[in-house]
């Protein structure tokens, strides 16, 4: 793998880095809020992936340039941006559901630490 490849695809390396960071937080942290943060980072990396791949080098933002239809104007691809707008909304929804659940869990268990919750669940199961 050449150095050029590394540099020219720097956006992918950032995406992969963010993805791994998010995924690591998700797996390693027992705190439910931190898990949600990890999930957010993980999802954001994907947003970056989409947005960066819509970029066309040397292109203008995808806003029509006057006079319309004339001249040789290179536009960036707007579609990934639009898609990611939707994905961001989805991400917010996921986050809010996750946080709402965390609040309810705190009410029900008195903690949002996964190991403590597991201990409580194990105790109740043994009592059954």
């Amino acid at each position: 793998m050449s150095f050029d490849l590394l540099v020219s695809h720097y956006n992918y390396w950032i995406v992969i880095f963010l993805m791994m960071v998010g995924f690591y937080i998700l797996i390693s942290r027992g705190n439910l809020i931190k898990k949600i943060v990890g999930l957010n980072v993980f999802q954001t990396s994907v947003f970056m992936l989409y947005i960066s791949m819509g970029k066309v080098s040397g292109a203008t933002p995808p806003i029509l340039v006057y006079p319309y239809g004339e001249g040789d104007v290179l536009y960036s691809n707007p579609l990934p941006h639009v898609l990611i707008l939707t994905a961001i909304v989805v991400g917010i929804a996921t986050t809010s559901v996750g946080l709402a659940l965390a609040v309810r869990i705190k009410e029900a268990y008195g903690t949002i630490e996964e190991d403590e919750i597991n201990a409580i669940e194990a105790r109740t199961e043994a009592a059954e």
Binding site: T94, G98, L101
Partner: protein, 492 residues
């Protein structure tokens, strides 16, 4: 009107959902949910009929022609899945009234029906759309409402189960988005039919293979294929009974559909089987899932959890059919989608009846119920026998084609394994039967049979279990036709 059926399929429950929120009274919201879900079933049946007669339907949303606009594309495969999903939705919704009033606090009941209809429309949307990104959007609609539905369960463990499902489900969905994005990079289109045309040119590219990998993991998470099934048992165990019955019969089925649609239609069966060796990856996973999860199910004391593990095993059967990479195997998969929805729906609904009267689904709570709640337990027995695969039930039909598929490939050890594991199903079903019929009822003398509003829908599913076991000609025909559609490009 009929020209707009594809969009109505999704829009009817989607629009009914917010109305449920505005209706303060639970019963009114319930009435709307019943109406919307039965309307969805009627539309799905009309679509299936139309597709069987006229072939593939294409509907351009807002008149934006594909591949630029979003296309809804209905062929035999997804018309079939639409019928399964909306059918279960329609049968569970009347059942939900009594069951939910018992298990969910009154103020949340309209919210429940809103989430229920959202979940239904999400699942229908995934199934009907011909646009990859649209799949993701609907996937999240159904998943988010599913998390909320599960969290409505009585036990506080419902909350942690929902949270765990949320984390794993979101990771799965994100993997799917990554896969979709990479495919878009390679082809510049999101339309499935268009992709199917363009992808063969770039088969060799590493990006496509990476996309394939991400999608595989994402789908397998969603459909709870062993070993990515960890979210499922608790989610099914602690969700309200009606939710479990609905989810167990629809959510994983739609995930299996997604897998089939992406891997066989978009990538194409030749790419999946010849280039990616999907069958060789899935075969061992499916076999391990069937055997290990059936064994785990035997040792469960909570009957809902027992059935949940059984579901993971049954998903193994569906994936096993796919891994045969033949039309017969795929027919078995598609048949089992339908048949398993019928049997698991009936079983979970019977458990909902028990929950309604006894307040527990622990195996000890079943003691003596054979006499106290004869219709409920009879429904469980028939559903259980169907799960085992006794002749004249739908379970037998699936098993027949699965084994036929194995023998066609000459894999007789696989055939024997399938038969042996159906005995494991007999063992775990029988534990419940023995508790119900051979032990004395310890509880209150006043305990009666569940109300008919619960028994009616339950027995409707039981009756379908028997009907489609005795007269499976139609279902087999549809499934085979769907399998042939999916396997286009591979010699039968």
């Amino acid at each position: 009107m009929s020209a707009h059926l594809p969009i109505l399929q999704v829009v009817v429950p989607l629009l009914a959902a917010p109305f449920c929120l505005f209706l303060k009274r639970g019963r009114v919201a319930w009435g709307l949910a019943v109406l919307a879900s039965w309307a969805a079933l009627a539309i799905a049946l009309a679509l299936l009929d139309q597709v069987m007669r006229e072939g593939v339907l294409s509907y351009a949303i807002g008149d934006w022609a594909p591949p630029i606009g979003i296309e809804y594309r209905v062929d035999v495969v997804n018309a079939w899945v639409l019928v399964i999903v909306s059918g279960i939705g329609a049968i569970v919704s009347p059942y939900a009234m009594a069951s939910i009033e018992r298990e969910v606090e009154a103020g949340r009941i309209p919210l429940f029906y809103a989430a229920y209809l959202l979940c239904l429309s999400g699942l229908l949307g995934i199934t009907i759309t011909g646009d990859m990104f649209n799949v993701f959007v609907f996937l999240e609609i159904s998943s988010l409402s599913a998390y909320a539905l599960i969290a409505l369960g009585q036990a506080r463990r419902a909350l942690t189960s929902a949270f765990r499902y949320l984390i794993m489900g979101s990771v799965g969905a994100t993997f799917i988005v990554i896969g979709i994005g990479l495919l878009y990079v390679m082809t510049g289109t999101l339309n499935m039919a268009d992709l199917a045309q363009l992808l063969p040119e770039v088969w060799d590219s590493r990006t496509v293979k990476v996309a394939y990998g991400f999608l595989t993991v994402g789908f397998c998470l969603k459909l709870a294929l062993f070993p990515l099934h960890l979210w499922l048992p608790n989610a099914y165990t602690y969700a309200p009974s009606a939710v479990t019955a609905f989810m167990a019969s629809t959510a994983t089925k739609v995930a299996v559909y997604m897998l089939l649609r992406f891997f066989l239609t978009i990538f194409g069966a030749p790419f999946s089987f010849d280039v990616m060796a999907l069958d060789r990856v899935l075969l061992p996973l499916a076999l391990v899932a069937i055997a290990s999860m059936s064994l785990v199910a035997i040792f469960q004391v909570n009957v809902k959890r027992l059935l949940a593990y059984s579901s993971v095993a049954q998903i193994g059967y569906m994936i096993l059919g796919l891994s045969f990479a033949t039309v017969t195997g795929l027919t078995a998969t598609l048949l089992h989608l339908f048949n398993h929805a019928l049997m698991k729906g009936a079983l979970f609904m019977a458990m909902g009846c028990v929950m309604y009267r006894i307040g527990s689904v622990h195996i000890n709570a079943m003691a003596g119920l054979g006499r106290r709640m004869p219709w409920t337990m009879a429904a469980f027995v028939v559903g259980g026998l169907s799960l085992v695969g006794v002749p004249l039930t739908v379970g037998f039909v699936s098993k027949w084609y699965l084994i036929l598929g194995a023998l066609e490939r000459g894999w007789w050890p696989v055939a024997i394994l399938v038969l042996l594991t159906s005995l494991l199903a007999l063992v775990y079903i029988w534990r419940v039967v023995e508790a119900a019929y051979f032990r004395d009822f310890p509880g209150d003398e006043q305990t009666r049979e569940a109300p008919w509003t619960l028994l009616g829908p339950t027995w409707a599913l039981v009756a379908l279990n028997l009907y489609f076991g005795i007269d499976a000609g139609r279902t087999v025909q549809i499934a085979r036709q769907a399998a042939e559609t999916l396997m286009a490009g591979i010699s039968p």
